[in-house]
């Protein structure tokens, strides 16, 4: 970048001088790449807007508008919102009256189960990570490794004993069962992730606070926790995404009342033997994407703020 301020620099296309900042030029470049990366998702969203008979058309219809004539007519479809209402109520037999599909309940289940288990895992896991990081036990690494091991086996192996156990105890098909299972499922990642953030912190500030007479609880809540907010946000988002979309455990361990959306989506799309119902699948997925998309979007600032507490790194 040249030091003299060119025209492009003056309008903010380039930015020089300030480290870690760029102008609109970077926006343009990154924007193109991001949009390209996003295309398969965009196609799913567009499919949810298509009339049912256009879902499999050749050539594929790609856009709801012709963008003032930029896109040739045979790539353009007329958008409709009908598919979204058919997620919640549609006729199950040809020509029958629309029936409720129960998807409102499934969305509710997904939200309750995912959010509760991720919060639980975050609370329990952060405490444990702090313990592992600051008060190492005898055989600390062994404990950590055993925790990691719980994530290593394919779900199918763990699931059979879990099914048997749940049946014996009566947790099968209940909220508590699946929430506890997902909490455990998230714990390994939460502990490892948060431990790596706690390990990065300098202990100087903590020790200074201890010398000044702060209690251990206060050191944790007032000094350590605020420094790892970025880590908490990232862990929350990852946990939420994984739990939100988890399929196998939900398929085998939820009952009709506690069924989550991925399971119901799989059933709704492949039922009836008529092959995949593309527009229905796309509209369920689009609706299902919105909550987790919004959470990620609003946590993003935390996600990227990083550790700005002004600590001196080791």
């Amino acid at each position: 970048m040249s030091q003299s301020s060119s025209f492009l620099e003056r309008i903010g296309f380039f930015k020089s001088g300030n480290v870690g900042e760029s102008g609109w030029g970077r926006t343009l470049g990154v924007g193109l790449i991001s949009l390209f990366y996003f295309l398969p998702v965009l196609f799913i969203i567009f499919t949810s807007l298509k009339p049912q008979d256009m879902a499999l058309s050749v050539p594929p219809t790609l856009s709801p508008t012709s963008l003032f004539g930029l896109i040739p007519d045979h790539y353009v479809f007329t958008p409709t919102l009908e598919n979204f209402s058919s997620v919640f109520s549609r006729s199950m037999t040809s020509g029958g009256a629309p029936e409720p599909t129960g998807f409102d309940r499934y969305f509710f289940n997904s939200i309750v189960i995912a959010s509760t288990s991720v919060f639980l895992a975050l609370i329990i896991g952060t405490l444990a990570a702090y313990g592992f990081s600051r008060y190492p036990l005898k055989g600390n690494d062994t404990y950590l490794f055993i925790i990691l091991t719980t994530r290593m086996l394919p779900a199918i192996v763990v699931i059979i004993p879990v099914i048997l156990m749940f049946r014996v105890v009566g947790l099968s098909g209940s909220y508590i069962g699946i929430i506890l299972l997902y909490t455990a499922f998230n714990l390994a990642f939460t502990i490892w992730m948060m431990k790596s953030f706690f390990d990065e912190l300098s202990t100087d500030v903590e020790d200074a606070a201890r010398i000044d007479g702060s209690s251990e609880t206060k050191v944790f809540l007032k000094i350590c926790l605020p420094q790892v907010i970025a880590g908490l946000a990232a862990t929350f988002v990852f946990g939420l995404i994984l739990t939100w979309n988890e399929f196998l455990f939900a398929l085998l361990l939820t009952g009709p009342d506690t069924r989550t959306v991925p399971v119901a989506m799989n059933q709704a799309v492949s039922s009836g033997g008529r092959g995949t119902d593309w527009t229905l699948l796309a509209s369920i997925e689009t609706l299902f994407l919105i909550p987790v998309f919004l959470v990620t979007f609003f946590l993003q600032d935390h996600l990227l703020r990083g550790v700005t507490f002004g600590t001196v790194k080791r």
Binding site: V30, S34, Y37, P40, L127, G131, F247
Partner: protein
């Protein structure tokens, strides 16, 4: 660390005290065994659970009285993991020494026979090995692709620029899709008749383009879909590291006219090393378990059967529960060796640096 340690004599073995965890374990074990022998499973389960809680309570009181904060903080996590993960794992480990099929009532102790069969049987062993080799191939390709793409994406977003927030969320979205939906839609993208990929390829040649026709294409299709979905995961971890690098270090480097490469290696890399390792570790573990995309895209055809899908077939479709358990413990053994090796190298590096 200046944690206050209260000196307090440990209680005698048979002294009834709330912090006598040795006695609690002893009593818990006796009661649990008696309950398991005498009472039906649905009752004895809760008794065993209550005993575990008793032992846990004794540990907590003990830890609190003596200022073992580590044990206190870690206890809840260990308890949840034990009930929901470690206990089922041990159960399935036990199951692997029996002949048991989930569609039959009989169960018979066979010792190591399941392991011997998985490793030496003329029919089973080559199929297992083959699935394992396929899995290794998928692990290498998908993890490499995710690490590279994720790292490059993170570099793109490492600087502040207008609208960064909105562009970043576009890149993160693939990770948020349900694998059912994205997998099914990838079958559409790859479809030889209706699919977009074939449509584009047919513009350039007259032959019909079928991606999933041979092994190379099928593997490429699966790797692409998996890497597309999970590169954002790597990106987010790396990015969290990149933005945590204090700016003054770069400013100092700029004053000293340090070259870009050295700046990266000496300033940036130490901050992202831990997170890169974490991303690599978790993606490798997940890649070993790759099954859903294979099921959706090829159903194991064109020689793309992975060990995890192989296990689903054995344990779920053929109901050979204990055989599946044996194979998965062999697999776990391999993953543990790999992970330990990897953690060893990572630790040595960080100590050497």
């Amino acid at each position: 660390m200046s944690a206050v340690v209260i000196d307090r004599p440990a209680p005698q073995l048979f002294e009834v005290a709330p912090d006598n965890w040795k006695l609690a374990i002893l009593a818990g074990l006796v009661v649990s065994i008696l309950a398991a022998l005498a009472l039906p499973a649905s009752v004895s389960f809760w008794i065993v659970g209550a005993m575990a809680a008793l032992v846990a309570a004794a540990f907590v009181v003990n830890a609190y009285r003596r200022g073992y904060y580590g044990g206190l903080l870690v206890a809840p996590a260990i308890a949840v993991l034990f009930v929901m993960n470690i206990f089922p794992l041990l159960w399935s480990l036990g199951l692997s020494f029996f002949a048991y099929q989930s569609n039959q009532q009989s169960i018979r102790f066979v010792g190591l026979a399941n392991y011997v069969k998985a490793l030496t049987n003329d029919l089973a062993a080559p199929a297992n090995w083959h699935a394992l080799i396929n899995t290794a191939m998928f692990v290498v390709f998908t993890v490499a692709a995710q690490m590279i793409v994720g790292f490059l994406l993170a570099l793109l977003f490492s600087k502040q620029f207008p609208l960064r927030k909105y562009l970043l969320i576009l890149v993160l979205t693939p990770m948020m899709l349900s694998v059912v939906a994205s997998g099914v839609f990838f079958t559409y993208y790859y479809d030889p008749t209706f699919g977009i990929l074939s449509y584009v390829m047919n513009q350039f040649s007259n032959e019909q383009f079928i991606l999933m026709d041979n092994k190379v294409g099928a593997v490429a299709g699966i790797v692409f879909a998996d890497a597309w979905m999970w590169s954002p995961f790597v990106m987010l971890l790396v990015l969290a590291g990149l933005v945590s690098v204090p700016k003054y270090l770069y400013e100092a480097a700029a004053i000293d006219r340090v070259s870009g490469w050295r700046q990266f290696w000496n300033i940036t890399f130490p901050y992202i090393r831990g997170l890169l390792m974490l991303a690599l570790l978790f993606r490798t573990i997940e890649a070993f378990k790759l099954a859903d995309l294979v099921i959706l895209l090829t159903k194991g055809g064109n020689d793309t059967l992975t060990i995890s899908y192989h296990l689903i077939r054995i344990a779920n479709e053929q109901n050979k529960t204990s055989e599946g358990a044996a194979i998965s413990y062999l697999m776990l053994f391999m993953v543990i060796v790999l992970t330990n090796l990897y953690l060893y190298i990572a630790n040595r590096r960080s100590q050497g640096a």
